[in-house]
Symmetry: C2
Subunit: 170 residues, 2 copies
């Protein structure tokens, strides 16, 4: 199948831009990709970080196929790349593939819904603690101001929260 291949990306590479129609989907083998958008006030809002064994953007098919998000590598990364143009053909050729992707999306949907619920109920500090539990390595892999945005707080608050927690643990 030449529609699926493995590709390396340098840190800083943009997979696709807010406003573009994505032409491919990705699966992270190594590295880290940040998903963000620019909101109405011009602020950058980071909505996710994709790391090893996570799929990107398969589910970002809006009706008009235009993405609200930019995806950018925050580390040198290696990804499986799947061409979206041949997606329909693939489904026709392999009906089980559609069933498989549906199940993947359902699982991811359940996961984002759970994260959302946890996020709603938590204070900024609790959100940081949750991240420490769920994705401990992420905290040291990405720029702190982007992490702050991902956690829905200011960089200053994140800095203070980390300090507060470290003092308790020492």
């Amino acid at each position: 199948m030449d529609e699926i291949y493995i590709e390396e990306f340098k840190k800083g590479t943009v997979l696709f831009q807010q406003g573009d129609s994505p032409t491919a989907c990705y699966f992270v083998l190594k590295g880290c990709v940040r998903q963000y958008s620019i909101d109405v006030e011009g602020r950058e809002v980071t909505s996710n970080f994709y790391t090893e064994e996570q799929a990107i953007a398969v589910f970002d098919h809006k009706p008009d196929k235009i993405s609200n998000y930019t995806f950018i590598c925050v580390e040198d990364s290696v990804m499986v790349v799947g061409d979206l143009n041949t997606e329909k053909d693939m489904y026709n050729k392999h009906p089980q593939l559609e069933s498989m992707t549906r199940k993947m999306i359902e699982a991811d949907f359940a996961k984002i819904q759970e994260e959302f619920a946890a996020f709603i109920a938590a204070s900024p500090e609790e959100r940081f603690r949750l991240l420490q539990l769920k994705r401990p390595t992420l905290i040291d892999r990405v720029p702190q101001h982007q992490l702050a945005s991902y956690l829905g707080m200011t960089p200053e608050s994140l800095s203070r929260i980390k300090k507060r927690i470290n003092q308790l643990n020492s």
Copy 2:
């Protein structure tokens, strides 16, 4: 097709409980259903309200099929009910159906992702204002303490925010 039918539910009816395996999926024709879960600290966290023309729980298929949420009618409601046990048969009989549900889920996934991003970036007051714009009628349809939980704030804060905003508008 006797696997799909229309049913009326009285206010207070529980569609299924946290911990249960859902046996049906629903589409709201009239009324309002609240989705919530009890978190580790025993607090009730409302994660959604489903109203007219919204589908429920089609996407809540976790691998083990057990729901983390309770769904309860907050109004007398009329819904289309689809039996989940026959789901697989239906897909086999009508392959296009799988394609259709996949697209629906993708659309809903994109929507929840967007809501999540908006929520992250917003303060409690901004979240209330967003709700006023996006779902203005919901505010007067549901109990305020549940709405507060849905917006990630205390009932007291919601009350004050509403007061604050009404004073500006008068």
